[in-house]
Amino acid sequence: MPPSRPHIVVEDLRIGWGTRVLMEHVSFEIERGTTLAILGGSGSGKSTLLRYLIGLEQPMAGRIDIDGVGEPHVYRGVPPFGVLFQSGALFSSLTLAENLALPLTTWTGIRGPAVQDFVQAKLGLVGLGAFAGHLPGEISGGMKKRAGIARAMMLEPDLLFFDEPSAGLDPISAVELDHLIVTLSRDLGITIVIVTHELASIFLVADTCIVLDKEAKGIVARGDPQRLRDESAIPFVHNFFTRSSPGAPATREG
């Protein structure tokens, strides 16, 4: 059986604005059904890279292929993926049910009770089945994120992008969200790209990762997160995974 094509191929990507290059020579592949974490410090370009992957910006140079189709910035119609934005990005004037029904009724011929079946099923998947009639302003930040995930899944994509899903969540909500991400990946076989700097999340959900660095303007390390934590000789990577800074004071003994 021939090896399956990677789900996402990024080749020699250069991104930036005007004469300012944010990162260059960025190349990586994401295998189908795996979870890739994009890591890095603040300002390293994690979320910016995500914007290019989902086609909100056009790169200065390089190639982005999703399932063999290039140039995500010129997609027409429905992109073959779902996105969870950092704040959830739910439409504040629509209820959760209406938010989720919108892509379904816009891009498919599904109408009537089946729409509500699908909406309730996705809300149930993320634990929000009882909140279908609520407006986004009436639910918590963590619930908004889960609703955002449900909406991202409405068109059954096999690829999901998450931008800092745990940001702003309490530890319990964050770990619940992590478990949901693991369920999506392992039970539904969805390829997931997650931008995060939450170490606990990384080790729980990511199969592999790439580490960006602002100074290096690109990827400085890649691979299994635990292996990078334990074996990387790159000081930035080691400090990132062990939450230590170069000038940190020595911890008190005893």
Binding site: S92, I110, A121, L128, L188, G189
Partner: protein, 378 residues
């Protein structure tokens, strides 16, 4: 999305045990066909005990297909039937259906969000006391901010005043000037058309001066400022409110009314008179253009007649209103902005309300001043 591939559910009976065999692609692309197939299967099924759902003939299944099959199983069990998922070398399908059955949650019935006319009237009436209280509360804070500004100058963001005057005044000058110029033209045309029949075209310059200086200049300028700058100020503060920037200010010890509202009102109080004054001059020019365009009056004659009728009374009559008009625009726009709650929809709603109330407010203020001056005989 295509529905060309055949999608069915075979319903077979074997004594007390029945079989349901989904065949084809049970995915989002074929969702409509799957819905029909499920409905047909329920009608065709003739079972009283056990129902086996065989998954071997499924060519493809995703979340959508799994949801519909999961709901089918739920309904069968609700009828008292015992259902069994037969994987038949399709563990992925069994896993999906089980996942959606396990994570199912019933929707809680939500209170209806639409109201009848009577209920809407009642809702509005019930909200009036709260609105009045909130308005008086804001007015109280604004009033208290004035002495605070003198006693504690650091409570006000004075450095924002020049930028605000630039935005409200200088940037708004082309619009207010154009509006007043056109108003002058309109008064000129109107005056000529009505006074010509009495041979009284010579009074058109006086008409333009009186109408523009006393009433239309301040009113038109204020309405344009209310629409342009009132909307901008309301949406700016509303956005700050919904994004918790106002909360952040308060957490740092700033009083939002002092810090934000005072400089904005100050900028409006300073710029609306200036905009009105410039608008008045341009309106005189508009009246001149209109009159000389359609009558024999020479520009020199028009200008001399205008100069003869420009009096301090007419000028001050109008200009005295302008700071108050600026103030009412500022208070309404800022008050509405700070009252925003919710998201983007709230910003839009408060901005719209601010513009409508501000325009109404300037008309009321103008009318009150006109009444006062009439009673005073000036």
């Amino acid at each position: 999305m295509s529905n060309m591939m055949s999608v069915t559910i075979r319903a077979e009976a074997d004594g007390e045990r029945a079989r349901l065999v989904p065949v084809g692609a049970f995915d989002l692309a074929h969702a409509s066909a799957v819905v029909r197939a499920v409905e047909q299967a329920e009608r065709d099924l003739n079972a009283s005990g056990d129902v086996d759902l065989h998954l071997s003939a499924l060519e493809r299944i995703d979340g959508s297909g799994a949801v519909l099959l999961a709901r089918l199983v739920d309904r069968l069990e609700a009828r008292g039937l015992r259902t069994h998922l037969i994987e038949d070398r399709n563990p992925h399908a069994a896993r999906l259906i089980t996942l959606y059955r396990k994570r199912r949650a019933e929707a809680r019935p939500q209170p209806a969000r639409t109201m009848g006319t009577l209920a809407q009237l009642g809702s509005v009436a019930a909200a009036v006391p709260g609105m009045v209280t909130a308005a008086l509360d804001f007015l109280g804070h604004a009033t208290a901010a004035v002495p605070r500004a003198f006693l504690s100058p650091r409570s006000v963001n004075w450095s924002s005043v020049p930028r605000l005057m630039q935005t409200i005044g200088a940037d708004g000058l082309p619009v207010t000037s154009a509006a007043n110029l056109l108003v002058g033209v309109i008064i000129g045309f109107l005056g000529v058309s009505q006074l010509e029949r009495f041979g009284a075209v010579v009074y058109v310059p006086e008409l333009v001066v009186i109408a523009q200086f006393r009433e239309l200049g301040p009113l038109v300028t204020a309405i344009v400022v209310a629409g342009r700058s009132g909307a901008g100020l309301a949406s700016e503060l509303a956005t700050m409110q919904v994004s918790e920037e106002i909360d952040a200010l308060r957490s740092m010890g700033f009083h939002p009314v002092s810090w934000l509202v005072v400089p904005r009102c100050l900028a409006l109080v300073a710029t609306v008179p200036l905009l009105t004054w410039i608008g008045d001059v341009l309106a005189l020019g508009g009246g001149l253009l209109a009159t000389i365009a359609i009558t024999d009056m020479t520009p020199r004659a028009y200008v001399l007649a205008t100069a003869e009728h420009i009096t301090a009374t007419h000028f001050l009559n109008g200009m005295i209103k302008t700071p108050f008009l600026g103030l009412i625009i500022g208070l309404i726009a800022c008050g509405q902005g700070l009252a925003a709650r919710g998201g983007a929809a709230a910003v839009g709603a408060r901005t719209t309300t601010a513009v409508v109330l501000a325009i109404f407010g300037v008309i009321v203020i103008s009318a009150l001043f006109t009444l006062l001056f009439t009673l005073l005989g000036i």
